[in-house]
Assembly symmetry: C2
Homo-oligomer: 329 residues x 2
C-alpha cells in the first residue's frame, strides 16, 4: 500500500444539505484532499456555498477531474437512485443509513463497481459506520457476550419531524436519552432487560402555537405509534426565544458496549462512545476518511463495493505505514 499521496485527492460533493456542508467544511482540515466542487440538482446560483457549484449534469464531463465523489443525498430516495448511476463513472463514498436495505444496496453497488472498475464505499458515518466496526471487533474478540447499542443524548431528526407535524406545534425538537441506569447495570455484570423501549427515553421541547391545546399535543405525542408508544416520554413547552437559543443544534452520539467473558466468569467490558456537537459534521468527517481509503483501493485496483468491515484502518490515515507504527502503535 502506498500511503504517501503524490497529489491531493480530488473530491466532488453531491448534494448540499447538512451532510454536504459538513464534507465541505471537513475537507479544509485535510491537506491531502482538494474540493473540486459541489454538484446539485438545484440552480447552482441558489446554492449558498463559497466553493465552485455545478449542475449534476456537469458531472459526466468532469469525470477526469474527480477522484472520489462523496454522495450526500438522503437515504430515503437520493442515494438509492443516484448511487448506482454515479457508480458507473466514479469511485464513490456514501453514508447510506437504511440498515435493513444495506445488504441489497451493497450488492447493487458491488455489481456496478466491478463492471466499471471503480470502488464504492457504502454506509460510512457512525451508525452504520464506526459503531458497526466496533460491534464487529468487540464480538470477534469476545465471542461470549452481548452487545448493546445506545444512542444519544442527541437530536433525532425523524422524531423531531414527527412532533412538528402535530396540530398546534410550531417548533419542536426531540432528544433521545439513553438509560444510564441500564448502562451501569450492564457494565457491572447485572442481568438486564434490554429492549428498544427500556433502553432510551424521549424528551421533547415544543413551542406551541398561541391558543393551542397543550394537553392535546402531549397526548398526540405520547400515543404516536412506532415513535413514542412504549417509551418514557417527557414533553416540555418552551417559548420561541428559548427554542432558538438552545434547541436548534444537531448534537448526537451514543455508545456501543459489549459485555463479554474471557473465561467462565471473568468479565471484560468493551466500550466505544461518541459525543458529537454536530451529527452531520461528524458523519461527514467519517465519510472523508473513507474517501481517502476509497481512492487508495482504487489505485490498487481493489474494485467493488466495500464497507467499514472491508477496509484496513491504515487506509484511513494520510500517514505512511512506518509513521503509523512509530507514532500510534
Amino acid at each position: 500500500m502506498t500511503n504517501r499521496i503524490e497529489h491531493p485527492i480530488r473530491i466532488g460533493i453531491v448534494g448540499y444539505g447538512n451532510l454536504g456542508k459538513g464534507v465541505e467544511t471537513g475537507l479544509t482540515l485535510h491537506p491531502d484532499m482538494e474540493l473540486i466542487g459541489v454538484f446539485t440538482r438545484r440552480n447552482p446560483e441558489d446554492v449558498p456555498s463559497k466553493s465552485p457549484v455545478y449542475r449534476m449534469t456537469d458531472l459526466e464531463q468532469m469525470k477526469d477531474r474527480i477522484d472520489v465523489l462523496v454522495l450526500c443525498g438522503g437515504s430515503a430516495t437520493d442515494i438509492p437512485e443516484q448511487a448506482p448511476e454515479l457508480q458507473k463513472d466514479f469511485t464513490t463514498v456514501n453514508a447510506y443509513d437504511n440498515h435493513a436495505e444495506i445488504p441489497a444496496h451493497f450488492d447493487i453497488i458491488n455489481e456496478v463497481a466491478l463492471q466499471n472498475n471503480n470502488v464504492g464505499v457504502i454506509a460510512t458515518g457512525w451508525d452504520p459506520g464506526l459503531f458497526s466496526l466496533n460491534r464487529l471487533v468487540a464480538e470477534a474478540v469476545l465471542p461470549k457476550g452481548d452487545t448493546y447499542t445506545f444512542w444519544g443524548s442527541g437530536v433525532s431528526q425523524g422524531h423531531s419531524d414527527a412532533i412538528r407535524r402535530i396540530e398546534g406545534v410550531k417548533l419542536g425538537t426531540q432528544y433521545t436519552i439513553p438509560n444510564e441506569t441500564l448502562i451501569e447495570d450492564i457494565k457491572e455484570g447485572k442481568e438486564v432487560a434490554y429492549t428498544k423501549t427500556s433502553s432510551h427515553k424521549r424528551v421533547c421541547y415544543v413551542v406551541a402555537e398561541t391558543d393551542a391545546d397543550q394537553a392535546a399535543i402531549v397526548e398526540s405525542i405520547k400515543t404516536m405509534k412506532d415513535y413514542f408508544v412504549g417509551y418514557e416520554t417527557e414533553v416540555h413547552f418552551i417559548d420561541e426565544d428559548e427554542y432558538e437559543k438552545n434547541h436548534t443544534g444537531m448534537p448526537h452520539g451514543g455508545r456501543v458496549i459489549r459485555r463479554g467473558y474471557t473465561d467462565e466468569e471473568t468479565m471484560a467490558v468493551y466500550e466505544f462512545g461518541l459525543e458529537l456537537g454536530s451529527n452531520p459534521q461528524f458523519t461527514a468527517a467519517v465519510s472523508i476518511a473513507y474517501a481517502r481509503a476509497a481512492h487508495r483501493l482504487y489505485q490498487e485496483g481493489n474494485y467493488g463495493a466495500k464497507t467499514v468491515f472491508d477496509i484496513a484502518p491504515a487506509y484511513l490515515s494520510p500517514k505512511t505505514g512506518a509513521e503509523l507504527r512509530k507514532e500510534l502503535l
Copy 2:
C-alpha cells in the same frame, strides 16, 4: 476474501505463562479454531496444562499440523529471540508490547515472513493493539484535535515487581488510577495540562515483613525514579489475608480519548474504553482474533508482517461478509 472456514484453524501456543494460559482458555470460545498443543522450553511434564504439551524442539516436525503459532513469551527477551526464528516456518501472532522497539521488530519479522511466504501479525493485544487502532481511526476522522490515552484502573505488573524488590516488602501490588477530573475536563473542552505524571496516580497495597520499617518502605517507593517520582502516590499497608483476598487478580483497562473539532468550534469526543477482569486473558482474546486474520491473509498469499493497522476488521470475525453486513452493519 473467504470468510467461511472450511476446517478449524489449527493453533499452537508458544509459552505457558499468563498469556499462554489465556489463549488456551480463550480458544474454547471459538468453534472455528482448534488447539494443537502448547510448546514449552520446560520439561512438558512440569507444565500444568490439560492440553497436549510439547517441547519447543518438537515444533519443526509439526510444521504441517499447525496453521498459526501464537507467541506468548515475554516482550523483554522471549519475543525478540523466538519470533524471527519461528517466523521462518510458521505464520505467527504476537503481543509484543515494547512500543519503542515495534518499528524495528516489524522490519525484522517482515523480512523473514516475506522470504518464507508466511504472515507475522505483531503487537496485538490492547495497547499496543486495540488502543492503537482507535488512536489511528480517531486521528484520521478528526485531524484537528488531540488524543489522550489513560491506563487503569488496573494492576501494573512492572510497578508491582518494583515495589516487591524493596527491602521489607513481602507482597505488593500497584494500581494505576487515571485522573478522572482530567478526563472530565478533556471531554468538556477545557484546557488541560496532560502530562505523564498528571494523568495518573499510583496506589500501592503492601504487605510488610514483620518488624519492617514502614516509613522507609513508603520513602523508597515515593522516591523511586522512573516509576513513582512525580506521581501522586499512595501506599497502604495491609495484612496477608486481605492481600490474598483482594489484590492477586490482574484487572486492567483504560481509555483512548480524542477531543476533536469538526469545524472551527464544534467539538466531537471519540472515546474507546476497556474494563478488564483479566488483563492477560483479554490480551489473549485479541491475539486469537488476529490469529484468525493471520490465517486468512496466509491463505490469500498476503504475506509479510502486519499490525492491527493493516488488517480489515472483517478478517477478525468467523462470519461471512454477507452475514456481517446483515447482522452488524
